[in-house]
Structure formats: structure tokens, C-alpha cells
Symmetry: C2
Subunit: 592 residues, 2 copies
């Protein structure tokens, strides 16, 4: 394999030819996807760093990789033999590198970015910062592409037609809603670039990136026709016939900019500048209406079919978890098992369930101190050995054809838990319950609610360094953009309103480096109550560890909540369990 | 008085001459002040509407006044005989008029704004919205000024030297901190345009607008010198000598743009684009560093002298309130009094206190249904008559030479309170207490904390339509920009971090139109606790109405909080009270 330094040298010489003084290479693809396919991993190629988050900045003197504390160790391992230097972000995903990059640049110099990888809003923010120095922002997509030797070709699987039986609404019905909104907003076209929005709107699924059943595409919905931009040979004759019925035309993926250019000369485009990439944005020739994505909002509100299927998926997941936990409880007193193998074992139980498609993200199985590493993935070789002692965190999820799951439980495997662990576990649990019990007005933002899950940790001088929850799709993205719970409104998880019939996770935690990690997570459904208020219903069906609770610290309301939840878990799963499984679950769901 | 329609006609003809197709006239002054002096009230002049919030948009066809529900009634009264039409904002201060204005405009037309009245950030946001239609944004300051016949001249009182005895830090010390920050940020100058920042930094006060002891000015702090831009003849010889000692040069108020232009050719300016007006911003010729205002942040963190003086001011206010409430309680069983006169009576008690300078805002005395009008001001003639029956809300505050106060209490005057009122009062009180009891990490944002004051109202399907609190100055602005508690991060009250040694109000409420208003408000001091956490200490000293509490709905912690607060009120005020007053206060501070 070619050395990273040679790749950087080639990039620099291309930058030189193109009079680019500095270049910023982010980790995303043109669709702001969470999981990107290999042909968009330029940042990894030019830095040698394979972590999922990070931004590379290269100028004539320095190659700087900006990432956050989750990846410092991985960086040191992967980049010790190349010239890339680590720049530590204090906040994950914060654009701290931008001001730093600009501060290093001279007046009237040129900053290169791949226009496909930055949203229109990001470029506008860049403009504000580069204006004082009169720095020009130029498209570096060709510079990156031509310096990337043996760039992987995109690989695509067939596209499946996601039937109305699962989606609850036909693509025709969904497109009609878009037509109405276009009419209301006096727009002629809306341009959709988020893959989860396209998959939802057209009822299509595939498998283009890890863990997400999505299709790499762009979509233009106009009053008269719908145009889907796809890589070639992905649509079966059958699906094409369906598309034709609904006036959905298929064009080549690379034709998107040209098509935008033509159509925008005659009609008004409605776009979301926070998600649409700048290459597409720049192609718009005429008037635009800037709006938040219609589709993201529509998709976040699930219909009754979607809710019913998600509940069915939760049922399957609950059965698999029951079987797995029962097996584990009988196995661990007399055996040991590696974290990696335990993750695989869990998967083996889920695989037995109907409609199972795969994991919804890389399972986190963190024993003792490893549980404190928030985005830990147990390596295939050399992961920690679990025995019947101490604490274990398992955060995992599945894709079923009818729903997506995500659950975390923290278990006590044996020995006497310390007061410190019990105090933290109890505080996490109280927050987990309080947020699920909260009633609040429709439209309340995630940032307003997040701290209800933290307050009991705060009371004992503790906290956790991640958001409290995220939207989740129905056979879609496990981290579906939209509503959630976060400490900042810079992300939609903090700033988007909570509305009835959304799926959201609630997952507070607490982490002590080298000692333990605690996290408890349910998926909840938001339900409309009187006076336009919302309450949550837990969809996840799995007992909660009670060994670690300091009972005297729970309020009566909190105790009642746990007991009611356990009764629900038991009653809902019982019809699907064997006698032995029932007996195990009954024990786990006892009143406290 | 000339008819408003004639004023608009004159403005339109000037717009015509200057090829301006639409003009936006906001309510603020060039310093983003809360209370503006008469020479900046263009919006009132051209619309006839005198409410404190609103934006006027005029184009060739329409004159539209955008304001929120607090002012609909006042608009109808004041504008019924002119052509101005009311456009209802759904959210106070939201820039809903901007997109509306742009949607009415043609491509390549010209939008006029007074560059002095819009921040650099606001103009950048405008640019993003006008770009698709290629609308040009032009300065309309001359058009507004020349169409404004008999525009009032600014009137200024002398400037006082606010002694270190009160401020706790000399202007020299404060300027040195700015020098250090300039050094750190590689800047040569910082430009300060907020009047409260200037008053704090230079230890000066005056009386240029209602309720605020501020001085209309601009300030440039450079490494070598400090330049204060003032209207003429306001500085005494004595103060000028002090200024000279600290290398503070005084120039004319109108020289600011020219001076910025010159200095910025040789040095880097550090500015806050969210507060600096665009006229100043545009004058900068060279490099800038964009930052949040250093001074606003510094000012929000009070030193020990400021804290001690604020406590002294609270003591004076507590004595005045005790005397007022004792008088009122003996008076009302056998008399009636108008809301307006009761406000004056309260003022008369405060006036007797040392250092009293005036009210810190127009007192809100709202009896029964009037209490539900959030920004109610009892008119001098015809305000409601209060008798010994029902509910009364009083929100008032004072400026003392050593501190600023702001307090709300809700009283029950007689008769049997309804269950509805008691339920609401109890829920408001529980939120008021919970937020004051909360412990949270340094740096937590107001939007994360706000809902702790709402949760008990939410639990009974109720809410209130304002933020939960704001920063407060020390002989400064009663609504000091910076930290606070709000439902949105669009304002600093929602987005600024809470830090130790700040003064903030906590003031949840509940309002039922035509029936009653409930609000309870304390000023609190944020205190540093272990592990970098913050707790609040109540500074306000005044008993809380207990008649309206449903005791069985309070937790033990909440009851303990009230009893401890009342003991503190009693013990702190006792040394300053007469025997009769002590006995009255003791009764009010009894344990519940």
C-alpha cells in the first residue's frame, strides 16, 4: 500500500497546480449520510485514519487531522508513521478546524473544498469567516478525485420495493403530500438529497452502506413529474413499471447538477440549505425557496402502520433479547466469553427472528472499563474476557424488514457492587424514568428536555458527555435526523420540535474512565394527550437490571413506573415465549 | 399633529427618489438598547403605533406593522385612523416580516434599511434571503431622517463617575483585562457599541433613556489608547481629568465611522457581529476578528464588591416592600385603590431608601384579569380598582446607586380562592422552587434549564408564554443581555452559558385571559460548588404568598426550601425594621 505521505504529496502538487493554498476534507458523502460508502472515504485515504469522525486540513506546511477524544488512541495507532498531526477537538463534530485553518491563511489566498461535501449553509458560514481576509473558496472536488489513486468504484445491490403493507402509505400518496406543500409554498420543485428521505418518500430500500438500508440517489419532485437520480442498472423491470405508474422518471446519478440547472431556469426550487450540498445549490439558476426539508419532518411522524410494525419489530427484538439474556445468565457462572463473541452470540439470537436484516449499528459490548468508552467496538481479536463478575454494558440494535431497534442495558454479573456504581446507576435510572414520565407541550425542543435525564446525576455532581437520545427510523436509519435530546441546539436533536407519533431513544448514562460505563436506553413513541401535550410510551421490551438500584432513592412515582414497565414487558412477550423463558422473564420482571 | 398617512407619503416619495422599493423600520437604536431615546423612535413616528415592540414595513402599496399579541389592542386603538395594517407575529421579536417582505419584492429590486439599526449578523441573514432574487440591500438612513419632520434632538444629562467603591474594579483594571484579551486574540482594537457594556467598562452612568442609567456612546479600546465617542459637553472637567489619567480620549459621537475607517487600516478590529450595527461594521477597512463581545461576558460575572452592593440594594428593597405590604394589608380591608395609585404608593416606599434613583422598569400592577396581560402597565387614568377580594400580581423593580432590583409576587386579597387558582399557583411555585434548588454544571445553557420551572405546570396541561428569567445588572439594565432561561436558543437568554457569580431572575408564571395572572420572581446569585457545578442563592428578600398553596402537592424538599427562605428573609431584614414591621414580617414568614 502506498504510504500516506506520498498521497499527501500528490494532493499538494495538484493543489499547487490549481492554486489552492489549503484544503479541508471532511468525512461525509454528498448526502450527509452517517455511514458512507468506500468511494467517499477521501479523508481516510489521505490521512490513514479510519475513525468515523474527523476532518483533514492540508496546506503547504501541515497535514492536520481534527477529531475528538473518542478517537485519540486510534489516531495514534494508525497515523504514527505518517506526517499527519492530531488536533484535538474539545467538542465532537464542532467546526473548530475552520477558524484555525483560516487563521493560517494569507489574505487573498484560496481555500479548496469539495463542493459536494459541504452544505449550502456550511459554505455560507465559511464565507462569513473568509470575507475579512478576502479568501476565495474554490471547488476542490477534481483535485481530490484525481489525486486519489485506485479510488474504489461504488458497489450497489438491487433496490427493493418497500411495500405499502410495511410503509402504510404508497409512494403516490406521499408524493401527493409533497405536491400540496409545493403548491402552498409557491414552489415548483423540491430537491431531496438525504438518502433516508428518498428511501422513505419512494418506498425503496437497498444496502449501499453499512447498517442502513438506503439507496444512493438524488430526487427532484416537481408538480408534474418526479425524477430519481440513480447509478445505473439498479432498478428491476418490475419496480420500473411501478415507477412509471407514478410518473417517476429515472436518470443517471451524475446528471443531477445538469438537471437542476435546466429545471431551475423555468421553475422555483424549494431546498433545505442545511442539508443540500453546495454543488447542487450552485447549480440552481433561478429563484429558490429556502425551507427546512419537508420530507424529514413528514418522515419523523409515523403512521399507524409504521407504528404497528415498529412494535412488531420490538416484540421480535424482545424475544431475542430474552433468549440471549437467559442463555447468558446460565452460561457465565461457569464460562468466560470475549466481548466480541458475546456480540456475535446476541446477533445469533436476533438472526432467528423473522424479517431480520442485520445489525442497525456496530454493537457495543463493553465490559468494566470498556463500558466507559462511549463509541467502543470490541475488536475481533483481543477483546476483553467477560467472567461472572462486575459490570457489563450492551448497546445494540437490529434492522428488521418492518422496523429498526436500538437498546442499551447495563448488567451486574456477580460480586458485590460498590456504592459508587450503585449511586451512579440509580441516578441514571431515575433520569431515564423521569424523562419517560414527563408530559410536555407539542413542539417542545429536545434541548429543553434533555436535562430531565441528567438532573439526578447533577445532584451528585456527575454528568455524561453525550446527548440523551435521537430519532430512529422504521427500517431506516438507527440515528434518524430530526427530533431528539441534546445539550445544544446546534444539532436538530436539540432544536427540532417533538411532535406526536415520533420514535425517539432515551439513553442517559454515566462513565468513569477505566472503571465502568452505565447506560440505559429505550425507544419511546410520543403520543398526543389533551391540551396539545405529549407523553411517551416505551416501545422497547426488555427488563431493566434492578440489582444496582438504591431503592430508597427512588420516588414512589419512579418505583411505580418500573413496576408498570416490567408488567408490560412480561405481558407483551409472554405469548411468544417458551415455558422456561416465561419463568426466567417473570423472575426478571418482579416488582421492586 | 401631522397625520401618519402624510408622513408615510413623504417617506414613499423619498424612497421613490432613491429607488428604494421597500423599507424595513425596526424599533431599536444603533446600540440594540432595550429602551430607546425619542430621537430613535422612527417606527413610532411613521406608524403612529407607540408599543415598545414592532417592525414597520413600507412599500409602494402597503404599510405593514408587525407586532405580537401583547400589542394587538394598542395597535387597533392607535392606528385605526391611518393606513397602517396590522400583521400578527406568532412569536414576539421573531423576524417573520423579513421573508414576507422579500416574498412581495421583485427580482433585482432594492430593499432599504437604516444600516445603523441592523446588526452585521442580521444583514448577513438578510443577504442569504435576498440573494435568490438578487435584491440589493441599501442604506436608508438618510431617507428616514429626511422624511422625519421635527425629529427630536437628543437630550442628555451629565455623566457621573461611578466610583470603585460601588463597581469594585477601576476602569483602569477593566481596560487592562481587555488589553490582555486583545493580546491573546491577536487583535489591536475592540469596538464596543452596547451601552451597558460601555457604562460597565468605563464606570460611567447617566440617564439617557427611561429606567436605564446608561450613556449613549461608542467605545474603541486599543492597546495604546481608549476612545470614547460621545455627544458634546457631557463630561465634567473632573471626569475628563480621570479619563486623561487612563488615556481615554473623548471624540464626537458622530465621528465613530470615520475613526473606525482610519484605525482599521492599520490594526485588526475585534467585533461582535451579533451586536455591532452594520454601519460601523461596514466602516472597517482591514482585518477583523469576529467574536462574542468580551465585555458582555466579563460584565455578567460580578465581583465581590458588586455582589455585596447588590445584596445591600436587595436589603433596601426588602425593607421598602415590607413597609409597603404591611401598609397595604392594613389599608385594603377598608379602602379601595387603583392599580396605578398602588404602583405609585410602592414607589413612595422605595423612594425613602438611600441611593434610590427610580424604577428599573414600568411597574406591573395587575388586578385579577389584568394580571394575565404579561406586559401590562396600568394607565394613569382609568386603571382597575383594587378591593379586598381576589388576586393581584405586582412585578416591580428599582434602580439604587448600588444595585438594580426586580421582583414579582402574587397576592390573595380576600375571599375563597378557587381550586383552579390554587392548582396553578402551586404548580408555578413548585417550578420556581425546583429551578432555585437545581445544581448543574458550569456552562449549562438557559434553554437546558428553563423547563425545570415549567414541569409542574406541564403535568397539569398548562404552561406560560414567556422565558423563565434574565440577567440583571448592578445599577445597570434590569434586563441585562447574557445568561437567562428561555425556551429557545435564538436569544442569549437561552444560549449563553451560566457561570458562577451572575445575577439572574427566576420568574415562572401562569395566565388565564380575563381571569388572573400568577408570577413569582426572585433574583438569584449563581455560586460555584464542588466539581465545577453551580447552585443558586436567592438575593430577593420578600415573603412569598402561602395562602394559595396546596400543601399536599409540595415535596418535603420544596416545603423545606420555602421555610428556609422565609427564615433567611426574616433574619436578614429584622435588624432594619421597626418593632411593628418585625411582628408583621414574622407572621408572613411562619413555617408552612
Amino acid at each position: 500500500m502506498q504510504h500516506v505521505n506520498e498521497r499527501i504529496a500528490r494532493l499538494r502538487s495538484s493543489m499547487n497546480l490549481n492554486k489552492i493554498d489549503a484544503i479541508i476534507i471532511p468525512s461525509n458523502d454528498p448526502h450527509q449520510s452517517e455511514y458512507v460508502s468506500d468511494n467517499w472515504k477521501a479523508r481516510a485515504y489521505f490521512s490513514g485514519f479510519n475513525g468515523s469522525a474527523g476532518t483533514l486540513v492540508i496546506d503547504s506546511k501541515l497535514a492536520a487531522l481534527w477529531t475528538d477524544s473518542r478517537y485519540f488512541l486510534q489516531f495514534e495507532e494508525e497515523c504514527r508513521e505518517n506526517e499527519v498531526e492530531l488536533y484535538k477537538q474539545s467538542i465532537p463534530h464542532a467546526p473548530e478546524h475552520v477558524e484555525w485553518t483560516i487563521s493560517r491563511m494569507h489574505s487573498h489566498s484560496r481555500l479548496g473544498i469539495d463542493f459536494r461535501l459541504f452544505s449550502a449553509e456550511q459554505v455560507h458560514a465559511l464565507n462569513l469567516l473568509t470575507e475579512p481576509k478576502k479568501i476565495e473558496i474554490v471547488d476542490a472536488s477534481a483535485v481530490v478525485d484525481e489525486s486519489w489513486q485506485n479510488k474504489p468504484l461504488p458497489i450497489f445491490e438491487p433496490i427493493i420495493d418497500y411495500k405499502t403493507e410495511f410503509s402504510g402509505a404508497s409512494r403516490k400518496q406521499k408524493i401527493e403530500i409533497i405536491h400540496e406543500m409545493l403548491h402552498q409554498n409557491l414552489s415548483d420543485y423540491t430537491l431531496v438529497s438525504n438518502l433516508d428521505d428518498i428511501a422513505w418518500l419512494l418506498n425503496i430500500r437497498s444496502n449501499d452502506a453499512d447498517f442502513t438500508p438506503l439507496v444512493t440517489a438524488y430526487l427532484i419532485v416537481g408538480k408534474e413529474s418526479t425524477i430519481l437520480f440513480l447509478h445505473e442498472n439498479r432498478v428491476s423491470e418490475e419496480l420500473l413499471t411501478e415507477f412509471n405508474k407514478n410518473k417517476i422518471e429515472v436518470r443517471g446519478y451524475d446528471e443531477i447538477e445538469k438537471s437542476i440547472g435546466k429545471l431551475s431556469q423555468v421553475g422555483i426550487f424549494e431546498i433545505d440549505p442545511s442539508s443540500l450540498n453546495y454543488a447542487c445549490f450552485k447549480s440552481i439558476q433561478g429563484k429558490m425557496n429556502l425551507n427546512k426539508s419537508i420530507v424529514t419532518d413528514l418522515k419523523s411522524i409515523k403512521n399507524t402502520t409504521e407504528i404497528e410494525h415498529e412494535k412488531q419489530a420490538m416484540l421480535k427484538d424482545g424475544v431475542a433479547l430474552t433468549q440471549f439474556l437467559m442463555w447468558f445468565e446460565s452460561y457465565i457462572p461457569t464460562h468466560t466469553i470475549s466481548e466480541y463473541d458475546l456480540g456475535k452470540k446476541l446477533e445469533s439470537f436476533r438472526m432467528k427472528q423473522e424479517y431480520y436484516q442485520g445489525e442497525s449499528f456496530a454493537a457495543i459490548v463493553g465490559y468494566k472499563g470498556n463500558g466507559a468508552i462511549i463509541h467502543y467496538t470490541a475488536p475481533e481479536n483481543g477483546s476483553a474476557t467477560i467472567s461472572n463478575d462486575g459490570i457489563l454494558l450492551i448497546d445494540s440494535g437490529a434492522q428488521y424488514l418492518n422496523g429498526t431497534t436500538d437498546i442499551t442495558r447495563t448488567f451486574w454479573l456477580g460480586g458485590k457492587p460498590s456504592n459508587k456504581i450503585k449511586a451512579s446507576y440509580t441516578a441514571v435510572l431515575k433520569g431515564f424514568i423521569d424523562l419517560q414520565m414527563l408530559k410536555f407541550p407539542v413542539g417542545t425542543k429536545g434541548m429543553q428536555l434533555d436535562a430531565f435525564a441528567r438532573q439526578h446525576l447533577w445532584a451528585i455532581g456527575k454528568d455524561y458527555g453525550h446527548g440523551t437520545g435521537h430519532g430512529i427510523g422504521q427500517y431506516g436509519m438507527v440515528h434518524e435526523p430530526g427530533q431528539g435530546f441534546a445539550t445544544t441546539s446546534a444539532t436538530k436533536r436539540g432544536s427540532a420540535p417533538h411532535l406526536p407519533n415520533q420514535f425517539t431513544t432515551i439513553e442517559p448514562g454515566h462513565y468513569v474512565e477505566g472503571e465502568f460505563g452505565i447506560r440505559i436506553e429505550n425507544v419511546v413513541l410520543s403520543k398526543l394527550e389533551e391540551n396539545n401535550f405529549i407523553s411517551f410510551e416505551a416501545l422497547t421490551l426488555c427488563p431493566i437490571e434492578t440489582t444496582l438500584i438504591n431503592l430508597n432513592e427512588l420516588t414512589t412515582d419512579q418505583i411505580n413506573w418500573i413496576n408498570a414497565y416490567h408488567i408490560k414487558v412480561k405481558n407483551t412477550l409472554f405469548p411468544l415465549l417458551s415455558k422456561e423463558e416465561k419463568s426466567w422473564l417473570k423472575e426478571k420482571c418482579q416488582s421492586i
